[in-house]
Symmetry: C2
Subunit: 243 residues, 2 copies
């Protein structure tokens, strides 16, 4: 059975303007790979209602799971929750369970649960809250879409909350062979190995180090013996330059 | 007149599996912002023909420029050039001008221009080559799509080649005010300022440092005087916590 699939939607002008370097994509990619869920597509869109709604609908229809990051805070530019509701045709308002979480938190810390912070309790009808152990204001799951904060510490905590609830596939095994030759010198051997082992995915990732080109060959699949055979073939073909 | 718009398409299994952390998006975002071209959307797709063709067609139709990274090397998993040709309905083959560049390079360096390396001279009919001062194998522009390598040093060199040929807009001015309070404490003031200055974009970007929450307020627009007024209003409203 093929692995479940997933997409990620990163929401935020600050990523597209180059002000902020996104780190949530790389984090989620690693977590999903370990879980045996294949991340098939990522999109980054601006804080723009039409763009968010269209992307949520496209990704939600195409893949098993969608993970969003960003735009669920208390300020005027945080419009993700309302856009998700629109994408699903769901009503949205301040919800009692989310409000209770925030009220208890601000009572404990002496902060004020003002109108702005109450925006963080706006949850679409039918959504399930995602626990936020870092800063309390919850994310939520609706349909196959998991809506999470953009601040990396909060995003990562919410991913950790959601992941055990999902059914993973077979985590792929993988092995990497580093070859200190440019891709052009090894491509023919790689093509032969890829044809001989259609059950494996063999990827070539060039790098440049100290002015010299090399290639990392990543061999992926569920057949550990086949992966070992390809590794051995590469070490033999490029003896002295491969490890 | 509004600024020109752009999208980026990152191509590569290695980004989606979490093996590689993409840095090209952040680089391109910064370059485009300086140039006055608005990066409106980014997509990341796998080394998959149908996914690449569909994304190129969607992005090319929606935005003024599209920049791609990845998948133009010599190995079997480098399929970007052929997918771009398919997306534009253009023929593709080894082209004399690209072949000549590679032949001269490998003659100079003593390498062999073998069948695999010749794949890097596959250029769609009607495309214009993009110079690659780092490793010679060229990128290309066809229609409004600029096709570049994934290796960051090569990607950045190709971006530097392409950028002077594009017409930019008015680079936005921007100013950032750091406020050592959580977003919930400042949201009401921000909403008021955003309403009073519809000509500006005021974004709030929360951060967490040493266990405390704060917010960077980024004020963007072409009216420097208005930006200064908003800065002054924030410093006054949050005196002692803002700088």
């Amino acid at each position: 059975m093929p692995n479940p699939t997933a997409a990620m939607l990163v929401i935020g002008d600050e990523i597209l303007s180059g002000r902020t370097r996104d780190s949530n994509m790389h984090h989620l990619a690693g977590v999903l790979t370990k879980k045996g869920i294949d991340l098939a597509e990522v999109r980054v869109v601006a804080d723009d209602r039409a763009a968010i709604v269209a992307a949520v609908q496209a990704l939600s229809g195409a893949w098993d799971h969608v993970f969003t990051s960003g735009g669920i805070g208390p300020t005027h530019d945080d419009i993700t929750a309302d856009c998700i509701a629109e994408a699903f045709g769901a009503a949205i308002d301040v919800r009692a369970d989310a409000r209770a979480l925030l009220a208890a938190h601000y009572k404990r810390t002496g902060g004020e649960l003002n109108e702005a912070r109450l925006r963080m309790a706006r949850i679409p009808d039918g959504a399930i809250l995602i626990d936020n152990p870092v800063s309390i204001a919850p994310g939520f799951s609706i349909g196959n879409v998991h809506v999470m904060a953009g601040v990396p510490a909060v995003f990562e905590a919410m991913v950790a909350t959601v992941m055990p609830q999902l059914t993973g596939g077979a985590p792929l095994q993988s092995d990497t062979v580093r070859i200190d030759r440019g891709e052009g010198d090894i491509a023919q051997v790689l093509t032969g190995l890829a044809k001989a082992h259609p059950e494996l995915s063999i990827g070539s990732y060039p790098f440049q180090r100290k002015g010299k080109f090399g290639s990392n060959i990543v061999i992926r699949g569920s057949d550990a013996a086949a992966i070992s055979m390809v590794r051995a073939a590469l070490l033999e073909a490029f003896a002295g330059d491969a490890e």
